[in-house]
Every structure is written in structure tokens, then in C-alpha cells.
């Protein structure tokens, strides 16, 4: 069992969530309540990772962050590094890759809050921040939690893009999915099966936890 790779994967998933939570709430709420020019285009762009192969995103990240030109050159001159072959690069890739998984459930959750409730809160003198904190978030939280759990599990299982831009560095970019792949390549079936089974169990637990949470919250609200 490659504990280091598992720990790295969990860390990657958690760091990704830290970014995705505010992004998801912001965009989810915005898309749920507002009409604006270009909304359809924005929604299309945000949903793209659902259908694009990870190799497409991996390719663009490699091109953009190549230290020979443009942004990659600037980054490498300024910080001495770019976002290829390091943990930060994987975080960026995971955020992009999980956008629809984070935003869409949150958008649905915010959209399902009746308009009258929000208006009533505003009429009672609550400021927009208070409405968000005291009315919207408590009502939308099952959607938010399930968005987070799905994004977490999805990052844990991310493979193609990590293979393309990671460089397989232990404790930096060698995630559990990559480690399993290496074991399979080396015909080390015993390690591969232990790790695969652990990941299977872990994923099942995570997803049953979401369902349990959302069931429980529905009982609370009804």
C-alpha cells in the first residue's frame, strides 16, 4: 500500500475543495438568481469539463505552462518555476476539472429556494449578507455538501491529467491513481489490488455519506 500517494491524493482533494467551495457558492448563486448577457455562454464554458477528455485540458495546460513562451516563460522568470510537475499545477487542474461538479449541484440548490422566502427576508430588513448566511446557505447546504463530496471523490480518482502534467514525483505529483497504474504496469498485482480495493471502499463510504447527509437534511426541512 502506497500510503504516501494516498495521503497526497487526499491532500490534493482537500486543497481543491478549499478553492471550489467559494467558487461554487459564488457562481452557483449567481447563475441561479441572475439573468445577464452571455449567461448561456458562461454556463457552456463551465460545463465543458463534463464532456472534454482530461487529455484536452492536460494538453492546454502543458502548452500554456511550457517555460519557453508566454505565461509559462513569465512564471518561470518570476517564480523560478511553472505549474508543470508540481502540486500547485495539479490543484489548478483539479479546480478546472471539477468546476461543473461543484457549481451545478449548488446552482440547483440555490435555484430551489423560493423567491418569496428571500424577498420576505429582505423585507424584514435583513442585509444581503445576512440573507445568504441565515436563509440561503441553511436551505442550500445539502446541495453544497453533495457538490463538495462529489468533487472530493472526483479529484481522488483523477488520472489522465495527472499523468500528463504531473511527472510522477513522489510526494509531489504521484497520486494514488498514478501509483496504481505503475503497479499494474509492473505486474505488481498484489499492491495494485490492495490499493484499488482501498480506493473502492473509500469512494463508497464518501458517496454513502453524501446520500446519508442529504436524506437527513430533507427530513429536517420537510
Amino acid at each position: 500500500m502506497d500510503w504516501q500517494a494516498l495521503a497526497l491524493s487526499i491532500e490534493l482533494s482537500l486543497v481543491t475543495l478549499v478553492f471550489l467551495l467559494p467558487i461554487g457558492i459564488l457562481f452557483g448563486r449567481w447563475l441561479a438568481y441572475r439573468q445577464f448577457i452571455g449567461k448561456a455562454l458562461l454556463q457552456t464554458v463551465l460545463a465543458l469539463p463534463l464532456v472534454l477528455p482530461p487529455t484536452v485540458l492536460g494538453y492546454y495546460l502543458l502548452v500554456v505552462f511550457s517555460p519557453n513562451q508566454g505565461l509559462g516563460l513569465w512564471l518561470s522568470n518570476t517564480f523560478g518555476t511553472t505549474l508543470v510537475f508540481n502540486f500547485e499545477g495539479l490543484v489548478l487542474a483539479s479546480i478546472i476539472f471539477n468546476l461543473p461538479f461543484a457549481i451545478q449541484p449548488m446552482q440547483r440548490a440555490f435555484a430551489s429556494i423560493p423567491r418569496e422566502i428571500r424577498e420576505a427576508a429582505a423585507c424584514c430588513g435583513m442585509k444581503p449578507g445576512q440573507v445568504l448566511w441565515k436563509i440561503e446557505l441553511p436551505l442550500a447546504w445539502p446541495g453544497i455538501v453533495s457538490a463538495m463530496v462529489i468533487s472530493f471523490a472526483h479529484t481522488l480518482g483523477e488520472f489522465g491529467i495527472v499523468l500528463m502534467i504531473g511527472g510522477n514525483i513522489p510526494n509531489e505529483t504521484q497520486t494514488i491513481a498514478i501509483s496504481i497504474y505503475d503497479k499494474v504496469q509492473a505486474f505488481d498485482d498484489q499492491s495494485a489490488s490492495i490499493m484499488s480495493f482501498s480506493l473502492l471502499l473509500f469512494s463508497m463510504l464518501t458517496i454513502s455519506f453524501t446520500y446519508w447527509l442529504s436524506d437527513r437534511s430533507e427530513h429536517l426541512h420537510v
Binding site: 519557453n68 508543470v84 510537475f85 510522477n168 505503475d182 499494474v184 504496469q185 509492473a186 505486474f187
Partner: protein, 222 residues
């Protein structure tokens, strides 16, 4: 082997009028697919071990032959100021001064050219020095891609890739002495499903015309 093999397949088509369809993947992946009944007729690998494994599992017509020998080369982006020499003293110096941050090789756990690269680095006494800087390609082509894009400053890749026209325009390379690593035997074996065309291609690969192409791509006689 990809670029050389493409050219040989084209020459074979011109000479015989017959077509071969080539599937490129790591030896580990292909061995697994063949063991599980994949529709392949001829198997080429830089790792004799996999050929032996298929023979032992009765998936081949015979024990196969070694048809060429591969070499490794040091590769860097053509804009790089790195000094390339047979004993890697330029690389060693750059590692010590911190000028060299990322060093690409194929994964030595399962890729034969990665194993050869590791052996060479060990022979030269710079394995420990370079280890923290290594990025591992899933296969040798990915290691070359990491280097040609400049994402890694230097790479140890197959000489045949270094000679390929697409890489020659963006990189500089230097052949590493064969004495620094175990021979890289390129083996091939006809599989149980082999048809007439595959058998002809198997013979063709051992004839002077194919040998000439292999030679041009940096392979030597077995």
C-alpha cells in the same frame, strides 16, 4: 521505435502492397491485453521479459527474436545553455548549481529505457544527486515530450526519438556510451493469432531494407 516503425510499415506497404495497423502502448499494457485475448498478431518490445512471459503463457508461436539494439541519448531544448557530454559532467554541474531543476526519464519501474537511464546515472555516480529532480514519463516518448517542451531542462531518452525529425528541430542531443547500461534488446514475437501479413512483416523487419531504416534511427544490429 514509433517513428522508425512507421517508416518501415510504409516501406513494407510499397514493397508488398499489404498494410499493417500498429498499436503503440507500453509493453506492460500490451502484454496484459494480449494475455486477455487482445486482437494482436505481432508483439514488439524493448523488454525481453514481457516476450518471455507471453511465451511461457503459450500466447506466442515461438520464443521470438531480437531484431535490433537500442541506445539512450541525452536530450535538451536547443535554446538551453546546458553542456552535453558523455560523462554528464555538464549535467552534474548544473544539478549542483541548481540551474537544472527537472530531469526527465521514463519510469524505471516498468519502462526499459527508464531502466537503462537509471543504470547510466548509477554508473556515472549521479543517481542520488539527480533523484530529487527526476520527473518520470509514463513511457520514453513522454519523457522526450517533457524535454522538448522545455518543461524539463534535460532528459535521458531513446536515441531513436532524439533522431526523429520532429524532435531534431527543437532539441540538441548526445549519444550515451552503450557501456553505461545493459543492452536494450528490441524483441519481437509472432502471437498465436498471427496471419500471413504479420508473418511477412516479421520477416521484413529482419531484412536489409528495414535494418537500414532502423540504423538511420539509431538502432544497431542485435
Amino acid at each position: 521505435m514509433k517513428f522508425a516503425l512507421q517508416e518501415i510499415a510504409e516501406a513494407f506497404h510499397q514493397d508488398s502492397g499489404k498494410n499493417v495497423r500498429i498499436s503503440y502502448s507500453s509493453s506492460g499494457n500490451l502484454t496484459r491485453q494480449i494475455l486477455q485475448g487482445g486482437p494482436f498478431e505481432l508483439f514488439l518490445s524493448a523488454n525481453t521479459h514481457y516476450v518471455k512471459q507471453l511465451y511461457q503463457q503459450h500466447k506466442t508461436l515461438d520464443q521470438g527474436v531480437v531484431f535490433a539494439s537500442g541506445r539512450i541519448a541525452l536530450l535538451t531544448h536547443k535554446n538551453s545553455s546546458l553542456q552535453l557530454d558523455e560523462h554528464l559532467s555538464g549535467v552534474k554541474q548544473a544539478l549542483k548549481t541548481g540551474q537544472l531543476q527537472r530531469f526527465a526519464i521514463a519510469n524505471p519501474i516498468h519502462a526499459p529505457y527508464g531502466v537503462a537511464a537509471k543504470e547510466a546515472l548509477q554508473q556515472l555516480g549521479i543517481w542520488k544527486l539527480s533523484y530529487p529532480h527526476l520527473v518520470l514519463g509514463e513511457n520514453i516518448a513522454q519523457a522526450a515530450q517533457f524535454t522538448s517542451s522545455g518543461a524539463a531542462q534535460v532528459g535521458l531518452v531513446s536515441y531513436s526519438l532524439a533522431l526523429a525529425p520532429v524532435l531534431k528541430t527543437t532539441t540538441r542531443s548526445l549519444l550515451i556510451p552503450a557501456s553505461l547500461h545493459q543492452p536494450l534488446h528490441q524483441s519481437m514475437v509472432l502471437l498465436n493469432k498471427a496471419g500471413n501479413t504479420s508473418k511477412l512483416f516479421f520477416d521484413y523487419l529482419q531484412q536489409p531494407k528495414a535494418r537500414g531504416i532502423l540504423f538511420r534511427y539509431g538502432y544497431s544490429a542485435p
